[in-house]
């Protein structure tokens, strides 16, 4: 058995610690070529967190792909009851889907979002559905771009980090931004008097 080099001897983690979502398609290209098929990166946030790669077969090349690191404990403390982040890596794009529940046992919203990044860096789809009450078909639709564009009176971004750039967003940046937005959103739902002043700019159905 050939002795393999360790991560400190040429591994990829330090040089690619924050990979833009669309760059996953570039990193995944050799694997897609080897398998002749797309693959999926799945990250589960819950009581028991796990991340996995779902492939169509056993690859015959070493796999070098950065699995986005999500601080599960932090996000659970921030309000996620559970969530599933699915990244379908194709030769020309990455489909990112976040589904989950945010809030307490009593007050919560369900999230169903889709963010599609082309390998070129263009965005093909960007939609976040926040389901407030499924029985009454009450939901709000917003996008990552909308959330990024919400600003404080000072002009500073309210939910995005100063370093966040829409074309270069990585998985963790999207989750972090969405989490900050949802915290405010839930707070606004709990204060009916302020409902009109919801932090979101999107339309309420």
């Amino acid at each position: 058995m050939q002795k393999l080099s360790g991560p400190v001897e040429g591994g990829f983690s330090s040089r690619e610690s924050k990979v833009a979502i669309h760059e996953l398609a570039v990193m995944g290209a050799p694997l897609i070529e080897n398998l002749e098929s797309d693959f999926t990166i799945h990250i589960a946030l819950g009581k028991k967190s796990k991340s996995f790669l779902k492939l169509s077969d056993i690859p015959t090349i070493p796999i070098e792909i950065s699995i986005p690191e999500i601080d599960v404990k932090k996000y659970r403390m921030d309000g996620w009851k559970y969530a599933s982040i699915n990244l379908q890596v194709k030769s020309d794009k990455v489909n990112m889907k976040i589904t989950g529940r945010f809030g307490s046992e009593v007050d919560y919203v369900d999230i169903d979002s889709k963010f599609v990044r082309m390998i070129t860096g263009d965005t093909a789809e960007d939609q976040i559905d926040i389901i407030i009450d499924p029985r009454e078909d009450k939901q709000q639709t917003i996008s990552v771009l909308d959330i990024m564009n919400i600003r404080l009176k000072s002009g500073d971004p309210k939910y995005a980090r100063f370093s966040d750039e829409y074309p270069k967003l990585d998985v963790e940046a999207v989750i972090a931004m969405l989490t900050r937005y949802l915290k405010d959103f839930l707070r606004s739902l709990q204060q009916p008097a302020q409902e009109q002043a919801s932090p979101a700019n999107g339309g309420m159905n």
Partner: protein, 194 residues
């Protein structure tokens, strides 16, 4: 791009090796990928094939080289398996082999959970659970018990006299287990009333 053969170690198919031979390569793979545990799972259903690589709390920081036996779907599924999960879990404590899934030999539908943990020298764990869906009852046994089961003549029932517990190849473990399952479902066709 470097080509690898994930189903062989030094030219020998993994399925023809005992689990103990996977210990050293497992340590190398874990060191190179920077993870402490690497779960590899092959799933066969009647329609689909998938391969999973699962990580716990530490994400890989180096390349991952899968190490997994090459099973032909037809051979693996022909023994009444409707859905089968073969797992090889690489850890610093040893290599775990799991065989799980749904097995159906009319009229007996059962769910299987079979695990062997190969330590540095010997099996550290050996447990089999068989869940009969008809009566929702779980039966427990071990691979050691299966290997030691004898016929009235005194001969071994499922294993061969030359086969030694703890030194069997992965292929032979599956073969013996399939013999046992076939017999078990035959014996349990009729549900005993308490």
């Amino acid at each position: 791009m470097t080509k690898i053969n994930p189903s062989q170690i030094d030219g020998t198919p993994i399925k023809e090796l005992p689990l103990s031979k996977l210990i050293q390569p497992a340590e190398d793979i874990l060191a190179a990928s920077g993870v402490s545990t690497l779960l590899q799972r092959l799933v066969y259903t009647e329609k689909e094939k998938s391969f999973f690589l699962e990580f716990s709390d530490i994400m890989p920081s180096g390349e991952i080289r899968p190490l997994f036996p090459d099973f032909e779907k037809e051979k693996l599924m022909k023994s009444n398996w409707k859905k089968i999960f073969v797992e090889i879990i690489l850890t610093n404590q040893g290599v775990r082999f799991n065989l799980k899934g749904h097995y159906f030999k009319s009229p007996v539908p059962i769910d299987i959970d079979f695990t062997i943990l190969q330590g540095q020298k010997e099996y550290k764990e050996d447990a089999i659970k068989i869940f009969d869906r008809r009566i929702e009852k779980t039966y427990q046994t071990s691979f050691k018990d299966i290997m030691e089961t004898k016929m009235k003549t005194g001969d071994l029932k499922y294993a061969k006299a030359t086969e030694v517990y703890g030194e069997l190849t992965i292929q032979k473990i599956i073969k013996i287990f399939n013999r046992f399952l076939k017999d078990w479902t035959l014996k349990h066709r009729i549900i005993e009333r308490n």
